[in-house]
């Protein structure tokens, strides 16, 4: 993904704030959100900066209200976003279903935290299913992007707005508490002028045909036809697969991980290589559409996979589906906000390699 012309020197920024600044550079016109740790800095940054760039900031009374404000503004033709953390995404499921059903563009940021329930404010990746398997009730899908550095978080946020417009669909940035809170150097492109309201937006008119933003189709034939079109859109969305292959050329074991887990895994892969172990990292950047082809291709050359997630194992199911039983797929996960260390993952890589090459 090209970040465009980088015109500034690098700035040391917190992940949450970098995401907000990136959205402003992308020409976001409205932000509606609700405080929740560990992402409240996104709201706070928007409160400070968005009005100055001509946009609308409003703290909503709940995540339910926030996602519906996003719906209204998106339907009215504005470039709009919201952000929250796991419990807030649960509250937004209804709104997301309406957004995909009504085919509205928007960006939704989930800075994942420990769950289920109230959980804690530490990092987690346990919302993968929720993000990728459906957008709320029904057969709708979010386009899901997962950054693993602050720079990537900024780049993907800008990309998210463009993809949301391209497909008339919500795009979710799936981050975690670590990425949201940590600080790294980041560069931003020049700010863009907000794009004009699309022709389908409800901007008020006295002329026929009037515009309607809607997701109800009472006749089964009509609703089926609508869903067929949505599924066709998700097939076209496969063009947006993004994945990184790191030291995979001669790898015997592929470590599959995304987001913060991939940061740790990359270090572990480097340590493994120092030990003479042929490990590589396969890092999905788009989680939906999932890089099935890249995983399937890797399954033809490696002896096994080790999927690492901050969860009980969610992406590992998609890895297994793509591998189609060709080679073993092992899993290592930490939960509750615990994050593995590089030595911890190195141990698992060694163990897995021994297992899959034995006999």
């Amino acid at each position: 993904m090209s970040p465009g012309t980088l015109t500034e020197t690098r700035v040391l920024m917190k992940g949450n704030e970098a995401i907000a600044e990136a959205a402003i550079r992308a020409g976001v016109q409205a932000y509606f959100g609700y405080p929740i740790t560990p992402q409240s800095e996104i709201s706070e940054y928007m409160a400070r900066r968005l009005p100055a760039s001509g946009g609308v900031f409003l703290q909503a009374e709940s995540e339910v209200a926030a996602i519906n404000m996003v719906y209204g503004a998106a339907g009215a033709g504005a470039r709009v976003m919201t952000s929250t953390s796991s419990p807030g995404i649960s509250l937004m499921q209804e709104g997301l279903s309406y957004l995909v059903g009504s085919e509205l563009p928007c960006v939704v940021v989930n800075i994942m935290r420990g769950g289920p329930g109230l959980g804690n404010i530490a990092p987690s990746q346990a919302d993968y299913f929720q993000a990728t398997k459906s957008a709320g009730h029904g057969d709708g899908r979010n386009l899901v992007l997962a950054p693993s550095t602050i720079q990537e978080a900024a780049d993907l946020t800008i990309l998210a707005f463009d993809l949301a417009d391209k497909y008339r669909n919500p795009v979710m940035i799936l981050g975690d508490g670590y990425l949201g809170q940590m600080m790294e150097p980041v560069m931003f492109p020049e700010g863009r002028v907000p794009r004009a309201a699309p022709s389908w937006a409800t901007t008020g008119t006295a002329e026929a045909p009037v515009r309607l933003i809607n997701s109800i189709y009472l006749e089964p034939d009509e609703l089926e036809a609508h869903n067929v079109r949505l599924q066709e859109k998700y097939r076209r969305m496969r063009a947006e697969v993004r994945v990184e292959s790191y030291r995979m050329e001669d790898a015997e074991i592929a470590v599959a991980a995304y987001g913060i887990a991939a940061r740790v895994a990359r270090s572990a892969v480097d340590r493994a290589r120092v030990r003479g172990l042929r490990a590589g990292l396969l890092r999905p950047i788009s989680l939906y559409p999932f890089p099935t082809d890249a995983v399937a291709a890797a399954a033809r050359t490696v002896r096994g996979f080790l999927t690492v997630e901050l969860s009980a194992g969610e992406m590992v199911e998609d890895v297994r589906l793509a591998v189609e039983g060709r080679v073993p797929v092992r899993f290592y996960g930490r939960m509750g906000g615990a994050v593995p260390t590089p030595p911890e993952l190195l141990e698992r890589i060694e163990l897995t390699l021994r297992e899959v090459t034995a006999g």
């Binding site: 509606f32 009374e61 339910v64 209200a65 404000m69 719906y71 002329e207 009037v210 309607l212």
Partner: protein, 291 residues
């Protein structure tokens, strides 16, 4: 023969699909007439809610958005905040607005969102077959209060207009009824006034429209109108509860707030807040000055 009335331009030619005797048709027409008279058809966006009026957009020649159940005020907020020069209104039933949508309506009103809410109160959930609504009267039989609403189990009906009237962001609040020519004429005036208040940028406006639901009430249409007059109007008094003029005299609070100075993490110095109460002319009884 002289034609003295026409279909409002803002009302579509589509025949209504509401039940015979349903007052939605009248309410739709009054809204369309107000929009025509104010000349705002070209800059109005409606937000449909979930209930019998879920397909309201089929009956208006206006841009519309369909909102989830209860969420119309939040959707309208999103539209109005990004298109502040358009007229934005919601059209909601009692379950939509006062049950699942309570948070959204209270906060839109409290923020003084410059939108207009048409609130259809027929004391029942019509679309889903006649269940209890927040506005169902005590003793009223519905499919989920088959023995009559018992306040010990289900609470009392909510007077939405009174509830919202305490919020300062509300600029215009009226309750009207669609029973008979005189009341319908008053209803039309209130609806037009509500849109006018939005055009003047005064704040949040809402008209609560007492309506009938002959089918779930189990009555003939004319009988239902009589029932509304005899039972609903006493429970939900008619009138203009808040107007921009009344607000100026009923909410003259002078709140003097001095900024909070955080001197040291453990020591927070708060200067006293003095609220001059309009009626007592001084400090409200029982509160005193807070230091």
């Amino acid at each position: 023969m002289k034609q003295i009335t026409t279909r409002p331009r803002a009302l579509a030619e589509t025949p209504f699909t509401y039940c015979p005797g349903c007052t939605h048709g009248i309410a739709h027409r009054l809204v369309a007439e107000a929009i025509d008279e104010l000349g705002i058809q070209g800059r109005t966006v409606g937000v449909a809610s979930v209930g019998c009026s879920v397909f309201a957009y089929n009956f208006f020649n206006l841009d519309f958005q369909q909102a989830a159940h209860g969420r119309a005020p939040a959707v309208a907020t999103g539209i109005k905040r990004v298109l502040p020069d358009r007229v934005v209104f919601t059209y909601q039933g009692d379950g939509d607005l006062a049950a699942i949508g309570t948070a959204e309506i209270v906060h839109a009103a409290n923020r003084g969102e410059n939108i207009t809410v048409i609130f259809i109160n027929n004391a029942v959930y019509g679309m889903t077959g006649g269940q209890m609504a927040p506005t169902t009267l005590v003793g009223m039989r519905t499919t989920t209060t088959p023995f009559g609403r018992d306040p010990r189990l289900a609470g009392h009906p909510i007077r939405v207009a009174e509830l919202l009237s305490s919020l300062r962001g509300v600029a215009y609040l009226a309750r009207v009824a669609l029973c008979g020519v005189a009341q319908i004429t008053r209803a039309k005036k209130a609806i037009r006034r509500a849109f006018q208040v939005q055009l003047e940028g005064q704040g949040f406006s809402l008209v609560e429209v007492l309506s009938t639901c002959p089918v779930t009430w189990g009555m003939q249409p004319v009988e239902a109108v009589r029932w509304l007059e005899q039972h609903m109007i006493p429970a939900y008094p008619l009138g203009e509860l808040v107007t921009p003029e009344k607000k100026a005299t009923t909410h003259p609070e002078t709140i003097v707030v001095h900024p909070v100075t955080i001197v040291h993490p453990e020591t927070i110095v708060v200067h006293p807040v003095t609220i001059v109460h309009p009626e007592t002319g001084g400090v409200p009884p029982g509160t005193g000055e807070r230091g």
